[in-house]
């Protein structure tokens, strides 16, 4: 029989969940509700007047081919950021896990970049790749490659992806490293006795056992790429050249806070919310099936 704890009355359970409910209500439901409400209006910036337009803001956005193109940009960007932050992290975690001595030092060093705020990380990378004073840009020019992310779409995208993924590698590394530690040694040793070499053991035993962690990180990293990378983009490219690095969340920021167009900005937040919601549902429905807990 399952053992269940039951509470008498409602007060205690309500009091216990209240903090979480209040925090979610104040910091999530209320602003999200506001965004949905505001997306139906074209307000003036000062809040003096506001015109009800129904779904007009959405119509305006979806009929804009540059906004639609920004979906593709976002998809490319988030896929690349997720891959570039998870694969190296997994690789580093596997290597660090094999170390017998000094793994603490490597671990500490590898976690450092996570402490750097995205906007600051953006500036750091920009300095290295600055077309005029950047160290990396200079070395590339010595090799005969003319680096110019100010005009070249691909280079600009590459740079914001690397700058966004860099700090994230640390975060992913931590999770992978912890997960690796919990892989039972006995299973690996058994496989080793059977003659499976390292990479075979890794792909057939370790990786499947890591899948819950990898799945969790996949969801978290996609959300990160969608929402938290605008600092990097703001400092490095400002969405350019042309619109090569204008991802959805950056457009929310620039239309709302630079353009003072709160109606369109709210509508974009709502669209973004739906997109991320859908993505998470898809991930849970299809990817999670392949995850072994």
């Amino acid at each position: 029989m399952e053992k269940r704890v039951t509470f008498r009355g409602w007060l205690l359970p309500l009091a216990l969940i209240a903090p979480q409910v209040i925090i979610s209500a104040v910091f999530f439901f209320y602003p999200a509700g506001q965004a949905v409400w505001q997306s139906l209006f074209i307000p003036d910036p000062f809040g003096l007047s506001s015109q009800f337009v129904g779904l007009g803001n959405f119509e305006f956005l979806l009929s804009d081919k540059y906004y639609r193109a920004s979906f593709v940009t976002t998809a490319v960007f988030s896929t690349l950021v997720t891959l570039c932050s998870m694969i190296p992290a997994l690789f580093l975690a596997v290597i660090a896990d094999r170390l017998i001595k000094g793994s603490g030092v490597y671990r500490t060093l590898l976690i450092w970049p996570y402490a750097v705020a995205p906007a600051v990380a953006g500036v750091l990378w920009l300095f290295m790749f600055n077309t005029r004073v950047g160290v990396v840009a200079w070395y590339l020019s010595q090799l005969g490659y003319d680096w110019n992310h100010v005009l070249n779409d691909t280079e600009a995208m590459g740079l914001v992806v690397v700058a966004s993924a860099w700090g994230r590698i640390s975060y992913n590394f931590l999770f992978f490293f912890a997960a690796l530690q919990s892989v039972p040694r006995s299973v690996i040793e058994a496989a080793a006795i059977d003659g499976a070499h390292f990479w075979r053991r890794f792909f057939t035993i370790v990786l499947p056992l890591l899948s819950p962690t990898a799945f969790f990180l996949l969801v978290v990293n996609v959300v990160y790429a969608f929402f938290e990378t605008f600092g990097v983009i703001h400092t490095i490219t400002g969405g350019g050249p042309q619109q090569a690095t204008t991802i959805l969340v950056y457009k929310v920021f620039s239309d709302g806070f630079v353009g003072q167009d709160l109606g369109s900005s709210s509508a974009q937040s709502v669209i973004l919310l739906i997109v991320v919601g859908l993505l998470t549902v898809i991930q849970f429905k299809y990817v999670e099936k392949r995850v072994h807990y």
């Binding site: 307000p43 910036p45 000062f46 809040g47 005009l151 969405g239 050249p241 167009d261």
Partner: protein, 436 residues
């Protein structure tokens, strides 16, 4: 920023008991840091020391966009300052905000402070004045684009540094010579939309937008895809392709390239003076912005960039009196000539310009009067009074994107400007419907 804020807080706290007794406090939010921030602080201190009825409290609120945002957010919360600095691009936004702003001419009339609208330079005040001639905000820092020349780079490339650079046709030839002489960066620019489209249009007396560049109504459409603008951008695009014009970014990134001596020519604001003078380790001089001889035989005036001071609604009459006194103080000849000489910004009154000339500043610093001459040589026309377009910050973003397509050789100038017009007009229609 934090320090400033704490400083302001300390000042406010320290003065509040006094203020409650006799002095009226006036909040002034601005966007200046560094040297400019110090100069603003000095102006405020001088005003506060000059009388004992009012205390102006200055606070720095971030860059131009952030300051405007802070003002808007504060207004929504009922905490707005009396005076808010807004960059020229935000002019239409502020103008349409009836009920949030109090026009300067009204404030001045009610406060009884001395105010003569005719004292201000036409091309400067025009930007902030209605078509009926009423001044809505007080011009504070205004600059205009000029051509900066690295004389050493000219000599290194074997080109006479005194050569005539008055027209783009001549500049085109010089760029060719510079390139042939081994110069890797013949021309670089800052603020491409402001200089190569907005000013280019005014300077050649062609419209940038319909309805007198937006002054006559919100139902304005962009006209930046006209033949004059397209011809200029086509030439620039060709120069970019040949490596004669180097694109460095949307803002003033090019300044670093010029100040380090890497580039020979630089189109940039006259307010670049302080930075170039401080950093350049080469001989430089200033020339008027070139014009196309094929378009006009004599250029019109250029237009300004910078910011003006807006007075916000919702305060006591006594406070507005203080605002009036402070704005009047800022417009005084002494304050203006000092500001002009220290920063390279234009003087906002003709008198301040004359005082600067009389003091011999222009003789000691040759070229510093070029911006003033360029602005005031001709009476502004409907095309050269300035621009008043809603959502203009975003429209500039669109123009930047389209220009990048031209510099990268992905679009012709005509295609890019047609597209900029289409996209910009959509935003103008939105602004129109939000402000009806």
């Amino acid at each position: 920023m934090k320090k400033n804020f704490l400083g302001a807080l300390a000042v406010t706290t320290a003065l509040s008991p006094v203020a409650a007794m006799a002095q009226t406090e006036v909040q002034f939010w601005h966007a200046f840091t560094g040297r400019l921030g110090e100069l603003v602080k000095a102006q405020v201190e001088e005003f506060n020391a000059s009388q004992d009825e009012y205390v102006v409290v200055e606070s720095h609120k971030g860059n131009y966009s952030e300051t405007l945002n802070a003002g808007i957010a504060a207004f929504r919360a009922g905490e707005q300052p009396q005076i808010l600095m807004v960059f020229e691009v935000g002019t239409a936004t502020m103008m349409s905000a009836e009920g949030a702003i109090r026009p300067v001419y009204e404030v001045m009339a009610e406060s009884g402070a001395s105010f003569d609208p005719d004292a201000y330079i036409g091309a400067v005040k025009g930007y902030y004045t209605t078509t009926d001639g009423d001044m809505l905000s007080l011009p504070f820092n205004s600059s205009t684009p000029v051509l900066w020349v690295n004389r050493d780079a000219f000599e290194a490339a074997g080109v006479d540094p005194d050569t005539d650079l008055s027209t783009w046709e001549k500049v085109g030839d010089v760029l060719e010579q510079l390139k042939a002489g081994g110069e890797d960066c013949p021309l670089v620019t800052a603020w491409q939309s402001w200089i190569h489209l907005e000013n280019m249009s005014a300077y050649h007396d062609v419209p940038f937008a319909s309805q007198d560049n937006g002054f006559a109504g919100l139902d304005t459409e962009l006209m930046l895809n006209g033949p004059a603008q397209v011809a200029h951008l086509t030439a620039m695009g060709d120069w970019a392709k040949d490596g004669k014009f180097i694109y460095t970014g949307r803002r003033n990134e090019g300044g670093a390239n010029f100040r380090s001596g890497e580039c020979a020519l630089f189109t940039e604001s006259s307010a670049g003076y302080a930075g170039i003078k401080a950093e350049a380790e080469f001989d430089f001089d200033v020339r008027p912005l070139p014009y196309w001889e094929a378009v006009t035989s004599e250029p019109q005036n250029t237009i300004i960039g910078g910011a003006s001071l807006w007075v916000m609604e919702g305060h006591d009459p006594e406070e507005y009196k203080g605002v009036g006194e402070f704005l009047s103080f800022l417009s005084s000849s002494d304050v203006q000539s000092a500001w002009h000489q220290n920063t390279g910004y234009l003087p906002i009154t003709a008198e301040a310009g004359d005082a600067t000339r009389a003091a011999g500043f222009y003789d000691e610093n040759p070229g510093t009067d070029i911006a003033v001459i360029q602005m005031t040589a001709k009476e502004p026309t409907a095309n050269s009074k300035g621009l008043r377009l809603g959502s203009f910050d975003q429209i500039r973003g669109i123009i930047d994107e389209e220009l990048e397509a031209v510099w990268a050789g992905e679009k012709t100038a005509q295609e890019a400007m047609d597209s900029a017009k289409e996209r910009g007009d959509a935003l103008l229609r939105r602004f129109e419907s939000a402000n009806q």
